[in-house]
Symmetry: C2
């Protein structure tokens, strides 16, 4: 694999989609060990040429007339996405969203481990949730240091998100998954990926309201 040139951000987002298809195929017993750019594109709602460009962007190569080898693609995609290493994350916020995340089985499957749970609320601290004893916020930097967590997950109310973000950054966290509907302004900038339910619903309302361009092609992004 001739090594990455440069992966455009929109391409990187699509790699996740390809990885889903590749993983499914890897688990299917009787399936072919090859997959074509057209197949990958159909599953992801993307043109085949786009798929080939995306795969080429991190050095994956296929065989003309045959397709891409599933096993190679799987490894290549995981490397390109930074999943070749396991990731440790601490979760801040043991409310509804936090609990749903703790119960979400796919995180572990993809190599993400939630190593600690913290909350500001004294009523929750000390209680066990999904096997994790909830810890107090003033232990944050110690927990990060001891666990070696690289990522932080913010699942607190909007008002507290900014403060938690700062605490995570000063504790040495290198990336943040933010479930609060707030943009974080961090002194030392680290990657922040937001998951905002409200924004998603607004996007949906926008698209449903917008005059559909009657394109015919059944795009239905996931």
């Amino acid at each position: 694999m001739p090594e990455r040139t440069r992966i455009p951000k929109p391409a990187a987002r699509r790699l996740s989609l390809y990885l889903r298809t590749v993983q499914d195929r890897l688990e299917q017993e009787g399936a072919s060990d090859r997959v074509s750019s057209r197949e990958l594109g159909e599953a992801a709602g993307v043109a085949d040429a786009q798929v080939r460009k995306d795969l080429a962007s991190f050095g994956a190569g296929g065989q003309p007339g045959v397709g891409y080898r599933i096993r190679d693609l799987h490894e290549g995609l995981r490397r390109a996405l930074g999943l070749q290493q396991p990731w440790r994350a601490i979760l801040v916020g043991a409310g509804n969203i936090g609990r749903a995340l703790l119960a979400y089985p796919r995180f572990a499957q993809e190599g993400f481990e939630i190593v600690a749970v913290l909350d500001r609320d004294g009523g929750v601290v000390g209680r066990k949730i999904a096997g994790h004893a909830v810890q107090s916020m003033n232990q944050l930097s110690e927990v990060v240091r001891r666990s070696g967590a690289q990522l932080g997950v913010i699942a607190v109310p909007p008002d507290e998100a900014q403060a938690v973000g700062e605490m995570l950054v000063s504790a040495g966290i290198r990336g943040i998954l933010n479930f609060a509907p707030r943009s974080l302004r961090l002194t030392r900038p680290v990657p922040v990926v937001g998951v905002d339910f409200t924004e998603a619903l607004e996007r949906l309302a926008f698209e449903v309201t917008a005059i559909r361009p009657a394109s015919g092609r059944g795009r239905s992004g996931g």
Copy 2:
């Protein structure tokens, strides 16, 4: 307000961010009733010229030397995003994610109402969750018809997402919010917005792994 020209999709996503700022300002008592494109841009992590283009795209206008009127912006943004009407949604899947969504207060605040909860699991059907009696899947189209719901929320395991998506579409649903990590392939294409925790984590892993371009400017998208 001279009416919308055309709102680019990336712009539409940013409108949600501006709306957050505008709502915050609307609730603050002592705050000015104007806001500048620079302020909006800083809160959203976007250049000021970009903000002005975005706002112009749906016909919002400001006063040179002064800024935009908060109240007007608020109304304009909500209209542009399709939030001037209330939306009714049915939720399919009463698992962890479904329950977290039911408890999420912001939906109602933004004008989204979950009018019904359905689940395939007989063990849950009939139970009450957050005031909603969980209904059986074979009542789906009747529930949609009777409630007049326009949106569907998929919060079921990945394997079932495709089938649920089809059921929603044939029941006449006009848009889908999909929490399952699957792209839906629908016979009659309706807008689908995906909220995929795994994809978000992968994006984060990608960005943390990628050689940071040392840009200096503290972008930290939310």
